[in-house]
Symmetry: C2
């Protein structure tokens, strides 16, 4: 791949993204407010707004008078333009969220999956069922879908036409899941890795467009990061950037399910945290908890007790040390302004992990990189992989309408 040349088309596309993000963040806004909020000229805002009005994605919702001068029109994203589905296929469930075009969630459904082994047929079956249930719960029809975004728990590599999906947990290697999906759903589909989806959610709805560099750290069964540089998610040569979960924390350390030893994931993924507890207290009852979310939830409950379980306290302390050391490596290499923790372990334990993690990052990262660094918990709540996939589906819809140039290589 050669260096990507930018064009004036890319600049117009960026302006449209800026306006959309401002409308999402502020709810409604006038053209003047949009110009102030985005730093774009009023003329550019007026052009962009007229394009978005023509596409039906933005509507004039009323007028506001500021006391002097003539009233100005308020604009908002037109939720009724259509609906979007974001599907988070994880190793243990398929979660489908239906949104209107303004990214307001209308309904969601979860279908459990067996976390040990799944055939592509079975997963696609679960996905279609979950989607139809979510649409029914929202009282909407497939025909109203502007697009469906599907996050798959593995590497989604290559470009349209030559894309392959590798899901180590299910022993998938480039299986024809994309063909299966296309055959079952007659709507535009995008597929992505959840790490890229989560970073995209943070770009559209969180901190991503306020800073020049940000890393989203996803903590669940697997762990990984999304790297956001100047408003763009870093994809890498084969769309695999962000596999921090399989970077090294301990040379020749714990066996990781990827086959390597000492990966970050083997220490701060949910099974890794359980292993830490096992090392601290081999006979602790929680070492036997089967389901990972139950285990993480139980840790949270044990910590919230009036007399917190000391083995759990030590497990959290050690996890914060591992997490901080691993994040310090990211800070050394990427030097971001923000690190945002996300994912269900972050929701359940983030407040408990944050102080120790932050202290370890400060102790371990190169001098001068942490003074202005914020480490926080993402403000995008709900299923951020599903939200991110819905925004990617919206990006694709806008791309097909000629309004966005996108680097996403993953539309089917």
């Amino acid at each position: 791949m050669a260096v990507r040349k930018r064009s004036s088309r890319d600049i117009r596309s960026e302006s449209r993204l800026d306006v959309l993000h401002a409308l999402l963040a502020q709810g409604g806004a006038t053209r003047n407010q949009l110009a102030r909020g985005t730093g774009l000229s009023l003329a550019t805002v007026a052009t962009v707004v007229s394009e978005l009005l023509a596409e039906g994605l933005v509507a004039e919702t009323g007028s506001s008078t500021s006391g002097v001068g003539r009233p100005t029109t308020t604009l908002a994203i037109r939720g009724e333009r259509g609906i979007l589905a974001g599907v988070d296929v994880a190793e243990t469930y398929v979660s489908t969220h239906v949104f209107d075009a303004a990214l307001t969630e209308l309904a969601c459904t979860d279908v459990p999956l067996d976390e040990r082994v799944e055939s592509a047929d079975h997963v696609v079956e679960g996905l279609v069922r979950s989607l139809d249930e979510a649409l029914e719960a929202a009282g909407r029809a497939r025909s109203e879908l502007l697009g469906v975004g599907v996050a798959l728990p593995g590497l989604v590599q290559g470009r349209a036409g030559t894309m392959s999906v590798v899901v180590p947990a299910w022993h998938w290697r480039g299986v024809g899941v994309l063909d299966l999906l296309r055959r079952r759903l007659d709507v535009p589909i995008v597929v992505e890795n959840p790490l890229k989806a989560i970073a995209t959610a943070e770009l559209w709805l969180g901190e991503g467009r306020r800073v020049a560099s940000m890393v989203t750290v996803n903590l669940g069964t697997g762990v990984g990061v999304g790297i956001v540089l100047d408003g763009t998610v870093l994809r890498g040569a084969t769309n695999s950037a962000g596999e921090w979960g399989h970077s090294l924390l301990v040379h020749e350390g714990r066996a990781c399910r990827c086959g390597r030893r000492g990966c970050v994931e083997a220490y701060v993924g949910a099974p890794g945290i359980q292993q830490t507890l096992r090392e601290i207290a081999p006979d602790h009852p929680l070492t036997g908890t089967q389901l990972q979310r139950d285990f993480i939830g139980a840790l949270g409950a044990a910590l919230a007790a009036p007399d917190p379980d000391p083995a759990v306290v030590r497990t959290l302390e050690r996890t914060a040390t591992y997490l901080g050391a691993a994040i310090a490596d990211l800070v050394a290499i990427i030097n971001p302004e923000r690190v945002m923790l996300t994912g269900w372990t972050a929701w359940a334990l983030g407040d408990r992990l944050l102080p120790g993690t932050h202290a370890e990052v400060r102790a371990q990262a190169p001098r001068g990189t942490t003074a202005d660094l914020t480490v926080g918990i993402s403000t995008v709540r709900g299923n951020s992989a599903a939200i991110g996939m819905a925004t990617l589906a919206l990006e694709r819809f806008l791309g097909d309408a000629g309004l966005l140039t996108t680097r996403s290589p993953l539309a089917l």
Copy 2:
């Protein structure tokens, strides 16, 4: 720092960089050849060329006839437009290289520094002496300098006006080296970290503009990387991106001179390689070699012998394993197309290290990230930090002339 907005000015700046790089790569070229080589339209090339002709940086050097049609003019960078100095201040020496405006080296000088402790005054003194000696060797005067670029062996942080320099080896913390430099040299100066300089050299003269993502890995006393994404060197929030040398290879491992334990540098920096030899053969005579370059040179000589020293062979094998595991982490996080080794350890031992390193990268990096990954030795020879600093000085000169918009925050 908010997301950087691109403008049509940036696009024109990129076009000028494309044309300059093509002229540097091809020596001379016609406008048609430049259009083919850069992918720019002939009209854009014509505009850019006329701007560079007006600035005196490009000249019409002759005409070529292709058999049919009228003869076309050949263009080349006009070396005599002025001179540039690139200064590599390392922990053990100051090396100054003088170039003409076409980046052809005219002369160079080395001044040794005591690698243990240096005052800023003393370093600036050595730098000025080295620069004057290099100018004299080239038969040129300070007044001809378009700019001087200085690589400092530490973190160069912040923006113009608030910039600070941290050199742990010399216990420098934001010392007024910049003021000292400005006072002694009445020419435009840029300062940078050598990692950014080396990546810039690879961008202008090596592989950097042929691929969308590249990592340059510098191996010397210290080690670190330059990350090049879409033709731009990643700087990070405080210009500290690329401090891979102080990312973790072995949790709780060898003490690193940065104060942390287990850093990559403690294993693949020259003193780290010596420590590996010490662990393999505590009484080996080379464990006592004082100067690091002598040590690395001696390893190369021992390997080239008809009957290579088995302890040295094992040291190289283990170093390749460490290096490959550490590069695999970069590949997991950044997923680049190219990894280019550079620096004096790479020149001396690279051919010996490469097969083992590449095998370890393939074994350790996430599936699918290494099939198309090239790991090689940089083709930019000579002192790439000095070359990079001269190109940064040229960038600054072109920026002052209104021809380039640059992200470099480091001009004084």
